[in-house]
Assembly symmetry: C2
Homo-oligomer: 341 residues x 2
Amino acid sequence: MPTNRIGQSTIVLPGRPRILAGASIAGKKEGEGPLRGDFDQIIEDDLFGEESWEKAESRFQYEAATAAIAKAGLTPAQLDVALGGDLLNQIMAASMAARELHIPFLGLYGACSTMAESLCIASMLVDGGYARHALCTASSHFCTAERQYRFPLEYGCQRPPTAQWTVTGAGSIVVSGDDTRPALCRATHVTIGRIVDMAIKDANNMGAAMAPAAADTLTRHFADTGRSPADYDLILTGDLGRVGHDVLLALMQERGMPLDPTRCTDCGLEIFAPGQDTHCGGSGCGCSAVVLSGHILRRFREGDLRRVLFMATGALLSPTTSQQGESIPGIAHAIALEADA
Amino acid sequence: MPTNRIGQSTIVLPGRPRILAGASIAGKKEGEGPLRGDFDQIIEDDLFGEESWEKAESRFQYEAATAAIAKAGLTPAQLDVALGGDLLNQIMAASMAARELHIPFLGLYGACSTMAESLCIASMLVDGGYARHALCTASSHFCTAERQYRFPLEYGCQRPPTAQWTVTGAGSIVVSGDDTRPALCRATHVTIGRIVDMAIKDANNMGAAMAPAAADTLTRHFADTGRSPADYDLILTGDLGRVGHDVLLALMQERGMPLDPTRCTDCGLEIFAPGQDTHCGGSGCGCSAVVLSGHILRRFREGDLRRVLFMATGALLSPTTSQQGESIPGIAHAIALEADA
């Protein structure tokens, strides 16, 4: 069989699948941040009119998905497959949203790497002609994540300085193989992440737990493609936050592939302003999902970006692994996006 | 771009990816059942030497994966991607196993449909040349599932007649695009499932909740491919159990596509004998994973089967959705397997 692989672990997409559209719906706090102008909708009510935060998170997914499909000029019935996930046990938000969409559904769990994981798989499926149009969606919600992973909100737990703030929001993107449709950008390369675990056990310092996985994927991506950091206008990690971002810069410096801090940033650093009291920045599947679907795709559309490496990171912990004394496995999937020539 | 799609929602795999090998490791009760001779290993200790059932489940995954890789004549480093999941919150068993394997990892959540979901995605990635060798693994464990989804084991809760028994075990399969290697069988078609929810809320009657999704996928598969039930030696559902299996037969009868009960069975019905007191049969991601990896691949090897439609079903509920009054979304992914010509 022919191969679309280069180097050890990177995939080339000869058909350069098209990113047709993206939509992002964010919560109130995110809507007060520096990217507020890039979101399709800002929802002030953290329940989004639903009875529970979990159902609200699912509604964020559904609304982002239907908005992205509409912006792509499609109807849900034209989508061949929807890929998505979230942080909730049994990816409840994604499953319930997919139930309403009636699109063939592949559920994913990659923690906060989910948006990248879904884009990687969708781009390969579209490139290979296994799907004509594919939908990628991910979400998180501050209130569902806090109560599932940490403490009941009512407890008013104090957050340590290394903590990040789970983003409330969902992002959704349509990937297409239809050559007749205009693209915001195109997917060219995929590097699937390996799990890297440097024995960090602090669930309030996930940036440090994920940074080594980001460095591993980045190193493999550069080695496989022959590219260097300078080949990208922007290297955008998912939600390393301040601590994880600094660890990544240090690790890449050590490996002789220093990243230019003016062309390497993290969705968790972009989404909130320093005065918003989120400590190390944003996190959650929704963080990279809304930053990519809103902010980054807008900059592609305006010609401000030509080539971006989007690499969302995930901390594959669960309350059970933490209680059983396990360290936090990190993962990072990368996808290269390029302006349509 | 070219298309590998036929009909509304089925995918053809022109390269016919090879199933090189499968391995199955099962627990004590499964090892006392009618398929005991088909498992690579039977583990009497439900802790598998670990400190917790969750860690034991992860060890089942790891051992099944390494056994499948070895039986395929490969080393872990030769695998381009591992896809897998389980029922645990944040797919803890799969993540921890992938951490030891060091293979690029795509985490999935499809509840008990996971083995089919992973095979569907892996087969497309291999067919398209995006992976040379791919690994698919899924597991479940009676003790982890009971305490997560239902009641603490110590409580000794009485099980209603519609209940199924979560299988303890893991199955792993290597899918390959390497034309020089002998195949047990080959993947030819994929039909990705849509979520179907007929408003069933009883977590002790998941067969009934999943059967309509199985009927939906099956109907679309036949319509797209022009095939009929008679084209398959065996239509093998995942874990519908006795109630769900009977509902599926009734639904397909209603739709004018009656299934021959001698050539349509369910992994949940095969794995335990009636005298084992499991009520409606087996369930869990591990159920279809061990039956396929062990029993079915052995029958392909022996020439007893020529063409099988493997369709694992998933009930996408969570304890949270149940507590919040939600009904159970069902899903079923189908993959057609054919003997090597």
